[in-house]
């Protein structure tokens, strides 16, 4: 029997009860939020509700009250963004709402990042992301980046119209072991395969995992071009990133 009353914040409890339906995800959220301090639950709720001014203030207050940055990030901001991803995947919310939630998350992370950076806490993983050459569309890639950052990843965002060499340079400069490529146009999907070939030619293919996604991309296309992973949406992108880097969910 699922005991939602373990989550003390009533509004947060309502969010989990109403929008999280998969047993494994219910269990994970109960595990995280039942042990989370009420301040962290309030921060998570501010992210879920896209309240960036509130999230900014609550994060600052939590740090001032003596909570450590990693706790605020994991139990507040990241845990909240996890619920946002589920609501987006299940079509309870759409892109404008996700953008507002990501803005809230960012307002909190602005307080957290300098502390983590100074203390040398490593990110969950490092990913190079870009829309491939010839393609100027970035909303899908940006949603993936929001969810990746929301899950604690450090992301190097190469933007749009990214040449194969730019992906390679970014991997060499950042030391990232995971590359994500996006395309919206059928005309530019082949450039994903060309970028993978460029990694082979540069002798770097064995050093990186490569995942692909975008409206015209399918698992079949991903397999044909030799990608290591495919995500059909932003939440699947995070799951693929964790799988490819061997990070436990």
């Amino acid at each position: 029997m699922t005991d939602f009353s373990l989550i003390s914040n009533e509004a947060l409890r309502g969010e989990i009860e109403e929008f999280v339906t998969r047993p494994a995800e219910i269990e994970r959220n109960l595990r995280v939020f039942s042990r989370a301090h009420p301040r962290m639950q309030a921060i998570a709720l501010a992210v879920i509700e896209g309240e960036h001014h509130l999230c900014d203030r609550l994060t600052r207050e939590a740090l001032e009250a003596g909570h450590v940055a990693i706790e605020v990030m994991d139990d507040g901001l990241i845990a909240g963004m996890g619920v946002v991803g589920i609501k987006f995947r299940e079509n309870f919310i759409f892109v404008p709402e996700v953008l507002a939630c990501a803005r809230a998350m960012k307002s909190g992370m602005a307080h957290i990042e300098p502390i983590l950076s100074a203390s040398g806490v490593p990110p969950a993983g490092k990913v190079v992301m870009g829309t491939v050459k010839g393609d100027l569309h970035d909303i899908g890639k940006n949603l993936c980046i929001m969810m990746l950052r929301g899950a604690g990843f450090e992301v190097v965002d190469l933007g749009v119209d990214t040449a194969p060499d730019a992906f390679i340079d970014a991997v060499e400069e950042s030391g990232a072991r995971l590359v994500g490529m996006s395309a919206l146009l059928t005309t530019t999907v082949p450039n994903m395969g060309r970028t993978i070939e460029a990694f082979i030619d540069a002798g770097l293919r064995d050093d990186v995992q490569i995942m692909v996604g975008g409206a015209p991309v399918t698992q079949e296309f991903a397999d044909d071009m030799g990608a290591d992973g495919y995500g059909k949406d932003a939440l699947a992108c995070v799951a693929e990133a964790k799988r490819l880097l061997g990070i436990n969910a």
């Binding site: 896209g50 079509n91 919310i93 759409f94 892109v95 404008p96 709402e97 953008l99 507002a100 803005r103 010839g134 393609d135 100027l136 569309h137 970035d138 909303i139 940006n142 933007g159 749009v160 119209d161 146009l185 059928t186 005309t187 530019t188 999907v189 409206a215 015209p216 399918t218 296309f221």
Partner: protein
Amino acid sequence: MSQPISPMTSRQRVLAALRREPVDRTPVCNPTSVATVELMDLADAFFPEANRIPEKMANLAETSYTELGFDTIMPVFSIIQESSALGCKIQWEQKDNWPTVKMREPIWRDVEDIRIPPDLLTHPDTACVTEAIRILRRRHGDEVAIIGKTMGPWSLAYHGFGVEPFLLMALDDPGKTMQVLERLKEVTIAYGLAQIEAGADALTLPDHATGDLVSADYYRRFLKELHAEFAARLPVPIILHICGRTVDRMPYIAETGMAAFHFDSKNRPDESMAAVCGHCALVGNINNPETLFARDPEQVEAEVLANLEAGIHLVGPECAIPLQTSIENLRAIPRAVRAWHSAGGGARCHHHDHSHNNG
């Protein structure tokens, strides 16, 4: 029992289908781009010039009728013509890619920034389309339906503000968003009227309030009334085009007075027919990336049949055809339509339409 229908020209067939009247056979139509690299070679008209030079635009566009056997000609291969005239920066690309607005370099930040330039209709990139329509009308007379394209205000706002800033504006400040749409609707109307005056029989009106980005409620709150206004003020059949999952907003679309909705393969033909409930025609919805681009004619024909059996009024690709699509796959569409009607499917189709008109 349906009466036999006299043979129709392509133009008569398309216009009748857009009015949901009986047709001699289901028309084959793509209200978005039919350009492919193979067709560019045949017409000796290549991107990017075919997007900017009227003669080349017309030469490439008419291949849908002369080479593929479609019932429509649609000379606009991209969604950038009026955005270029509005001042957006364009990446024109080459033969193997579509031109695109550089949305990461937005030209507007607020309502007051929106200026509709006096040369909106005479700018080379908008005038190219109206001139191409005139050329096509002269060449083809009344044989074939010529469809123009005027972008809706929601899509124009993506181009001018950038997708993310505009979507956040819609959430944060609905009042300002409505002001933006009200201002931009005059572009939609003016460019639509110019193409009608040049000889367009119908207009595609892309306005990408897709389920991949926003909820159906956004469509209801921001666009339903505006789209009804377009249907009322533009005196030809309007074909609304929205990519992606849209079945949740089709009932609203069906109430706007739009003649037709061009729908994506993410929506099944039967559920889409149920959603519009006989209040507008449907155009579509053969899958582009997985079928037309990547499969063979047999799979294309199977999707055509699924549309015909569902009673879809005009059959064709779901959106702009991928540029590397084979001519063989495209020719399979009209071939499958004709074969279905020859086998008696047409009688079922007329009966289906008739019952909708009375329903």
